[in-house]
Each structure stands twice: as C-alpha cells, then as structure tokens.
C-alpha cells in the first residue's frame, strides 16, 4: 500500500512539473467547445440542448492528449523500467498513475464547465452533482485510458492508436455522463439520474480492478 502512495506522490509531482502541458490540453478542450458551436450555428436553443454532449466530447478528446502524454516522462530514460526492476509493484505504479491522471482529467472537466455555461448559455444546474458526475466520468476515462496509454506509448503512431482503442470502450461512459449531465442541468422529471450514476460507478469499479490486474503484463517486456 505504501508503494501506491509513493507512486501517487511521484506521479503528482511529475504532473506538477509538467503543468505546462496541462494548460495546452485545457486550451485544446476549450477550442473544441468553440468549434462545436461553429458547427451548430449561433442559435442558443440548439446549443443549450446539446451543451452536455459537447462538454463531454471536448473532455474525451482532450483527455486522450493528456493520457497519451502521461507516460512520456516514464519512457524517456526507461525510468519506468528502472522502477519495475527495483522491484516496485506494477499495481502500485498503475494506481499511482491512474489516480494522478484522474485528478488531472477531473480538473480539466471542472475548468471547462464555465466555458460551456458561457458559450452555450447552458444552466449549470447543481454545482455539486455536476462535479460528482465529472469525477465519475473522468474516472471511467482514466482507468482504461492509463492502461492503454502505457501500451501505446511504447509503439509508434500512438496518437492514433490510443483513441482508436479507448473510444469504443468508453461508449457507456459517454452515454451515461452526457445523459446524467443534461438531467442535472435541465431537471430530471423521471428520476433517471440514479440509474445513470449507478452505471458510471459500475463501469469505474469494473475497469479500476480489471486494469489494475492486467497492467503488470503490459509493462513487462
């Protein structure tokens, strides 16, 4: 357990030292939000209706950049292999990296919300449930995403491979997060929020444990 904390501290420090990249990823997300509105046109009604969808699409696209970057630091001087050979347990290394990525993506999501509210004139709804959903949704992206990032960073053409592997997998996260977010923003007449939230929680638990099990095999040469 302590190794997981050591790994988490290492990844948090790693992300803090490379925070310049986070700003770039945030700008990418904000740009995506803007581009969506150009694609739909200036009518406030249409934009407001799809605001949740655009938020999560922008977040998904931006998160593949963030996830793809998260392993560059590890691969530069075979630093990750250096840790694995100590031996540091791959499970600890995985959860350290996955939790750090989760925090980064959640921060990214929260930072994008004001943009969405302004651009799409979308009612933010309850701040707390919105943040809760962002946490659940970004967890669903981060756990499998971290595993796939560890795989694809070791291969050329990883920028295309990571989304290619990740997006079909996280279809349930997108469906649940978008539906739940729009329910939070525009009211929930038939009380479906609970079932969407439950689905997100299940997805997160399943992939947090499954990816933790399989990560060791991915980093072993």
């Amino acid at each position: 357990m302590t190794q997981a904390l050591v790994a988490l501290r290492k990844d948090a420090l790693l992300q803090w030292r490379t925070r310049g990249r986070f700003v770039a990823v945030f700008v990418f997300g904000a740009t995506a939000l803007l581009l969506f509105s150009f694609a739909i046109g200036p009518s406030a009604g249409a934009l407001r209706q799809h605001a949740a969808g655009f938020l999560w699409l922008a977040l998904m696209l931006a998160s593949t950049l963030a996830l793809g970057d998260s392993f560059h630091g590890e691969m530069e001087n075979r630093a990750l292999e250096g840790l694995v050979l100590l031996p540091a347990s791959p499970v600890a290394l995985y959860y350290g990296k996955a939790l750090a990525n989760w925090a980064q993506l959640a921060l990214l999501g929260v930072a994008l919300v004001p943009f969405m509210v302004v651009l799409y004139d979308a009612p933010p709804g309850g701040a707390l449930p919105l943040i809760g959903l962002i946490l659940l949704g970004t967890a669903g992206l981060s756990f499998p995403g971290t595993l796939y990032a560890a795989m694809t960073v070791q291969v050329r053409g990883s920028q295309t491979l990571l989304p290619l592997l990740l997006f079909p997998l996280v279809v349930p996260v997108l469906l649940a997060a978008v539906s739940a977010t729009s329910l939070v923003m525009t009211g929930d007449p038939m009380d479906q929020l609970r079932s969407w939230t439950l689905l997100l929680v299940c997805f997160d638990l399943i992939y947090a444990s499954l990816c933790g099990l399989l990560f060791g095999r991915v980093v072993e040469s």
Partner: protein
C-alpha cells in the same frame, strides 16, 4: 516456447476446408428453405425472411468473440503462441461477421422502420464491438515484437469483451428514451428449421475459417521467429 507455434493438426490441411464446405452447403440449404418454402410472416411479410440469415449471423458473431475472449485468457495464462494465433483468427472472423450483421440489420430496418439505422441496442452494441475489435487488430499491426503483440492484444481483447454487456445496457437505457422497444425477431415454431440449419451452417463455416486463419498466423509467426542459427 517459440516452437510450440503450429497447431497439432497441421499435417492434415483438408479438415478445415471440409468443415467450411459443409457449412456453406448447409447455408445454401437453409437459405433456400427460408426463401422458398417458409410461409410468409403475418405482419412482416417477406421481409421476415432476412431473419433466417440475420439471427444465425448474430449468434455466431457473438460466439466468435466469446471464443476470442477464451483464447485471450488462455494466451495470457499459458503463454506460447498457439492461443495467440487463434485469438488473431477469431477476432478477425468476429469482426467480419459483426460487420455483416450490421449490414443485414440496416437492410432489415429500412422496410420495417423506414430508416437504415434504428439504434436497436443489439445492433448498436455490435457496431461498437466491430470498432473495438478492429482497434485491437490495428494494435496488432502496430506492434512488431511477437511476444508483446500477443500479451497486449490479449489484454485489449479481455477489456473489450468485458465491455459488451455494459455497452448493451447503456444503449438500451439511452435508446428507450426515444422510441418504444423495437419488436424482437418473434420467430414462431414453423420458421425454426431454416434458422437452425443456417446457424449450424455459419458455425461450421466460421470454425473452418478460424482454423485456417489461425494457421496463416502461425505460418507468419514461424517465419518471423526464425529460430537463431543453431550454435555450431
């Protein structure tokens, strides 16, 4: 470890061909029966006949991916390349069958619902499945090292397969908001025979194709793995 690449039944190459041939034969018989002899369905009319090829394809596509899931687990646990070649084969056959399934589904939806794609949970899940496993096949082509390719695609196949039920439920809930649940293919007793024949037909065809495709993978692997020149 590298030598345990070839399947045991490599010498006799005719079995897969015979199995596949038998499958094709059954398919012709079942289809002919479904098209010519089976009675018209009361509401759906003749469009119903698409079911005799659509439902068997659905069963077998799911079977192919389930077999791939088994191969992935075996490949991770047992090591060696025998299960890896079968994983590669069953994933490719699974993708081909699922793609065919989507095409059939679209052709069936047009006369029935007036749109080519009616977001039926089963079909939408199949479409996601096609994308997920095509991504894994792409991953295999990106990775040159055979050992790593075997482990990583097995890991990805397990992750993708576990996702199938979750995708199905999420699409089902998401879809139920828009329109009432599309009528499942109600197949009454009289129509069962062409369905079963075609199902077995596609099963045999699939089995033969997977066996052959696994051998292709094994032969390629053998060439790639050229054992180092024997020390003098």
């Amino acid at each position: 470890m590298a030598t345990a690449v070839m399947d045991t039944k490599t010498s006799d190459t005719s079995t897969p061909y015979m199995v596949a041939g038998a499958g094709l034969l059954l398919l012709v018989v079942g289809s002919y029966w479904g098209l010519a002899y089976a009675p018209r369905e009361t509401y759906m009319g003749d469009v119903q006949r698409i079911m005799y090829v659509h439902v068997p394809t659905a069963w077998n596509a799911m079977l192919a991916f389930t077999f791939a899931f088994g191969c992935a687990i075996a490949s991770l646990i047992r090591g060696g390349y025998r299960w890896d070649t079968r994983l590669e084969a069953s994933m490719e056959v699974g993708v081909v069958l699922s793609t065919l399934l989507c095409i059939q589904g679209a052709i069936w939806a047009k006369p029935t619902w007036g749109v080519w794609w009616d977001w039926d949970p089963r079909l939408t899940t199949t479409a996601v499945l096609v994308l997920a496993f095509s991504g894994i096949i792409a991953l295999r082509s990106f990775v040159d090292d055979p050992g790593r390719r075997a482990v990583w695609s097995a890991v990805a196949a397990i992750i993708a397969y576990v996702d199938v039920p979750i995708v199905y439920f999420s699409v089902k809930w998401w879809n139920s908001l828009h329109q009432m649940q599309s009528t499942p293919e109600t197949v009454s007793k009289a129509f069962h025979w062409p369905l079963r024949i075609n199902a077995i037909g596609i099963l045999l065809l699939m089995w033969g194709l997977i066996a052959l495709r696994a051998r292709i993978a094994a032969l390629r692997l053998e060439r790639q793995l050229q054992p180092p020149p024997e020390a003098a």
